[in-house]
């Protein structure tokens, strides 16, 4: 394979990879703090994409407005869902998983009913290429990567520097101790859910001009699970590494053997990896909690 092709595949992989990173980060957040295995996460991603598509393409609102509204919508929906459903079944892991599955089915089918089953495309916002030494990189993918990186940095700052972020981390380690420190566990979990779902909607929105939108998009949850497993449950750094690895791997895989097989191979690799490190590459084994 010649260099331009390789670079193109890598850039493709990185751009999709950043999406995985954003999604995995949000998923990790929801997994760590409110401790929900949020199987319906992919549906929020899809919802963000559809709303953005509807606002930006059909209603022709300004892009930034559409982006904000899409993100806001998923954020609010996430909060509502948490308040109505998950807050009531806090602590019952099976119940939460089942509820998440039910939500997933509801949202997937609902979107399909409202929007139909066919994929929608949207004209690219940034056309044009960056040409570096004979290698062509589409501008829109570069922009995607940069925007995603910016949001990621913002997330990091949120978690490390703000009070809310600290509260989120505290509750993820030990909710009871955090409560003793004055952290309102319910409110923190609600906010975490909001932020997580906002991330999903945002990711869906920004990828819409670059890739297509379809009701089956929710299936990305499978890949997000893989990323989280690979990078380690709850590990933000792991999510970054694993997300990018997945993106690039699938990019090359799609080119050579086709998407389905690439996924299987990835799954097999992860299974073998888990054999040697049950918590994932960088995650702490969640069961290592003092009795």
């Amino acid at each position: 394979m010649d260099l331009p092709l390789v670079v193109q595949l890598v850039v493709n992989g990185l751009s999709m990879g950043m999406i995985y990173v954003l999604l995995a980060s949000g998923f990790n957040l929801i997994l760590s703090t409110p401790k929900i295995l949020f199987i319906a996460y992919g549906e929020f991603y899809m919802l963000g994409a559809f709303i953005f598509y509807g606002l930006a393409h059909e209603l022709e609102l300004p892009l930034v407005v559409a982006l904000c509204l899409a993100t806001l919508a998923t954020a609010i929906l996430g909060g509502v869902v948490y308040k109505l459903i998950f807050q009531r079944i806090k602590g019952h892991f099976l119940a939460m998983i089942v509820a998440a599955i039910g939500l997933m089915m509801l949202m997937a089918q609902g979107t399909m009913l409202v929007f139909g089953t066919h994929a929608r495309g949207m004209p690219s916002i940034f056309t044009g290429m960056i040409i570096v030494g004979g290698i062509r990189i589409p501008v829109e993918r570069a922009v995607l990567i940069i925007i995603a990186l910016a949001v990621l940095v913002g997330l990091h700052l949120l978690l490390q520097r703000t009070n809310i972020g600290r509260a989120m981390r505290a509750v993820s380690f030990n909710a009871d101790v955090a409560a003793l420190q004055g952290v309102n566990s319910n409110r923190t979990c609600l906010l975490t859910m909001v932020v997580g779902c906002a991330l999903a909607g945002f990711a869906g929105a920004i990828m819409t001009p670059v890739f297509a939108v379809s009701p089956g998009m929710g299936a990305i949850t499978f890949l997000v699970l893989m990323v989280v497993m690979l990078g380690g449950i709850g590990s933000m750094v792991g999510a970054i590494v694993a997300g990018l690895v997945l993106g690039v791997t699938l990019s090359f895989g799609q080119y050579s053997v086709g998407g389905g097989v690439a996924q299987i191979i990835f799954f097999a690799v992860i299974a073998i990896l888990i054999f040697f490190r049950p918590g994932g590459l960088l995650g702490q084994a969640m069961e290592e909690v003092p009795p």
């Binding site: 892991f93 089942v98 509801l106 497993m229 389905g260 888990i274 918590g279």
Partner: protein, 359 residues
Amino acid sequence: MDKLWKKYRLNRINIRSGKLIGLVVLGVILVLVPWLVHSPYYMHLLIMVGIYAVLAMTFIFLLRTGLITLAIAAFWGIGAYSSALLTMRLDLSFWLALPLSAIITGIIGFCIGYIFVRSPGFAFIILTASLGMAIVHVFGTFDVFGGYLGITGIPAPDPILLPFLAPIKFSRVDKTAYYYLMLFLVLLVVLALRAFYSAWTGRAWRAIGLSPRLAESLGVNLFRYRLLAFVIASAAAGLMGSFYAHYMQSLVPGAFVVIKTIYAHIYAILGGIGFAISGPVIGAFIMTIVPELLRVVREFEPIFTGLFLILLVLFLPNGLLGLLSLRQRVERPSESIARVGRWIRDYLPTSRSEHENRK
């Protein structure tokens, strides 16, 4: 004869117990079903109820050891495809393929479980979910499984030859033979599960389910017992998969999507996860038969299922049987059966009980 009796403590079984009589009556009713139900369509539903009930049982079984699995449909599929290939490529008889499939699925379950079970809670769920999703791709990608179009023309089970009676043929038109085979397999699984549970392994499993830390401090090897449960659950699912393959006589990968595992979950939760055997049966029965009786529109199915799941989990966490239990102290289905049995024993002519004693 008497010595044999004592050696195996058979005389400990109280023949006059209400529970036994009740179970016998239940058994009789189940056996008579084909004479009462004439529509092949309803027979089909009952057969599917049986299959799903077993799958739901494996879910609860694993849940009791602290494992939430999303791979039930995957092992069901592995059993189904194994059996299809064994009979079609290796020309084995169904009656050989059936146990072999269960064993093969058990072995695969061991290999997969060896990797999965070591992982802590959430990781295990994610891994089984991934397996559940990936297995459909595996079945669809490789030609040996017939690709996404699947396998057709799977042979029906060979007719059973009994002395003095006409051979029992398995036909899709008259599903009677399939029905009895299903009953037999369900009974087999139930007895096997109960046997394991009454043994010391059952005590260990129960301990793991109630308090894993405490169980560990008493010397229970969590990994080994959970792996054992995983293997048994896989083999059971594989067994039903084999039956399914030769009943439907065709397989598509899409039959084993993760949502089928979710169905198993629903049946188990609807029945009540506190009831390992009767719960799944009731849940499967209600979810399969009732929509048919009410002619619910099928198009909207996933939405309603999704909504139903959420409502179920919010308002009926103990399932239907759990709800009934709360109202009248703790009357479990086995107690109800026992009660009915006692009523029969006490109010019918004594010659009946004597008849049973002479056994």
